[in-house]
């Protein structure tokens, strides 16, 4: 089976500072992978490399057998809600239609089918009655679900989530994980999280990103990790690049 993601001895540095060093791993289609690591460890850089927004200094990255920039049509991306301007005048439906821009004809009007598809996506995340609401007026959990709807509307094969439960309370966090559980198996999911405790039941493997990338199974993630500590030498780890 063709890998969903393949990293082969990938290095990435901002100017002279190495961010990702000699990373090699694969992710198979349908897998749910959690990404953990300290702040500044390279988690978001890893996602940006997969999306083709950054080019590696050396090594090979493939997404569904193609270079990342040629595989963007396979991707859905859920960023953190905190980076958006709450005053920005955009409705929830307009936001979700942003996931179908690649289909927008030159004259700039979405087809009825596309609008209907956006509405269905909102229904999937439980926001069917909020399509006219301004995005900035949604609660943290609703905003996160709206962004997930945008990522899902284009039927992606690979869903990337950057801390989807940051800045939301425990109840909303559970709602988001419940939604992701329903998507599990239907697509490949990579999720950056700071709270692996809550997500440990969902993920099949964990990538610990701390310049180097260590691959672990949930069983191997000891208490240190679930507490949010990243002391790799304290636990018995497989060598970097090995797939459990």
């Amino acid at each position: 089976m063709k890998e969903a993601i393949k990293f082969d001895h990938v290095n990435f540095a901002y100017q002279e500072a190495p961010i990702i060093a000699d990373a090699s791993f694969t992710v198979v289609p349908g897998e749910f992978v959690g990404i953990i690591g300290p702040n500044g460890g390279g988690k978001t850089t890893l996602l940006r490399l997969i999306m083709g927004f950054l080019a590696p200094s050396s090594g090979l990255i493939q997404v569904y057998g193609a270079t990342p920039s040629h595989a963007q049509k396979h991707l859905g991306y859920v960023p953190q809600t905190i980076r958006f301007d709450k005053q920005f005048p955009i409705s929830v439906l307009e936001l979700v239609l942003g996931g179908l821009l690649s289909r927008l004809p030159w004259y700039g009007f979405f087809s009825k089918q596309d609008v209907e598809k956006a509405r269905q996506s909102l229904e999937t995340v439980g926001l069917a009655d909020m399509e006219k609401r301004p995005f900035g007026t949604l609660s943290g959990g609703q905003a996160q679900r709206a962004l997930i709807a945008r990522a899902l509307v284009g039927d992606p094969e690979l869903l990337l989530l950057d801390e989807p439960t940051a800045n939301v309370d425990t109840r909303v966090e559970m709602e988001v994980y419940e939604l992701l559980k329903r998507l599990q198996g239907k697509m490949t999911i990579l999720m950056v999280t700071h709270n692996l405790n809550a997500a440990i039941g969902l993920v099949e493997r964990v990538l610990c990103v701390q310049k180097q990338i260590t691959i672990l199974s949930p069983k191997q993630v000891c208490e240190h990790f679930t507490l949010g500590l990243y002391h790799a030498p304290l636990i018995k780890l497989p060598s970097s690049g090995a797939k459990p």
Partner: protein, 281 residues
Amino acid sequence: MIDSFVTALQTNSLLLSALIGGLASSLVSGIIGSYVVVKRIVFISGSIAHSVLSGIGLSLWLERAKGIEWITPLQGALIAGVLSALLIGWIHLHYKQREDSVIAALWSIGMATGILFISQTPGFNVELTNFLVGNILWVTPDDLSLLYWLDGVILVTVVCLHKRFLAICFDEEQARLQGLHVDALYLLLLVLISVSIVLLIQVVGIILVMTMLTIPPSIANIFTARLSYMMGIAVAISCALCISGMAIAYHFDWPGGATIALTAGLLYIVSLCNSVWKFNK
């Protein structure tokens, strides 16, 4: 006041042309200004507006000192505006570290170049004052036809590209992931802004142009949370400001551009106070 203004419009074709020119400019100020406000590129737009003086100065110098008559100050402004927009856009895309300093430098260089050319131009340069503080009565029939053409080009472009512009204003990463040519769209948006600035300079002048580009959309943003509605409301506010400002200016014999800009500023302060009062209620 209104009656005497309406009577003057019926009898004075110059005033009527000026009003039509003002309304034509209001159309783009509401639409393009909304992108400027939501994308938070007011500083960049200010730099483009002031760089335009270099084109005006050069064209006046070519016309008066070198006898080249086919280029008008409006055409010079348009060329300088588009070139500045492309240059500033390139700096934004490729030189982010010192972007604000470089843009501020271009702002000054553009104005300084314009002033130097004008100082070398023979004769009394009434055009300079008109371009700096605006003189809507100075709009010629040729300028009006150019205004209509540019209005049409901007409207058609925005209708076709609005959803793409919305995407790059709200979330560039998502737009890029969807295969949009984000950098090209950004440069195009800056070019449209520069064209709008040249149109608005006719009404309020270089010094006050940012008022008309930012205040109507900022007021509109208080009343709506959808960009397309915001544009419609901003156009209506801009037209109302143009008409009321001209009527006040006519009645008191004040400069038109400054009166329109001051009316806009006062309306914005009232709108802000009203929204703060409602929020605290």
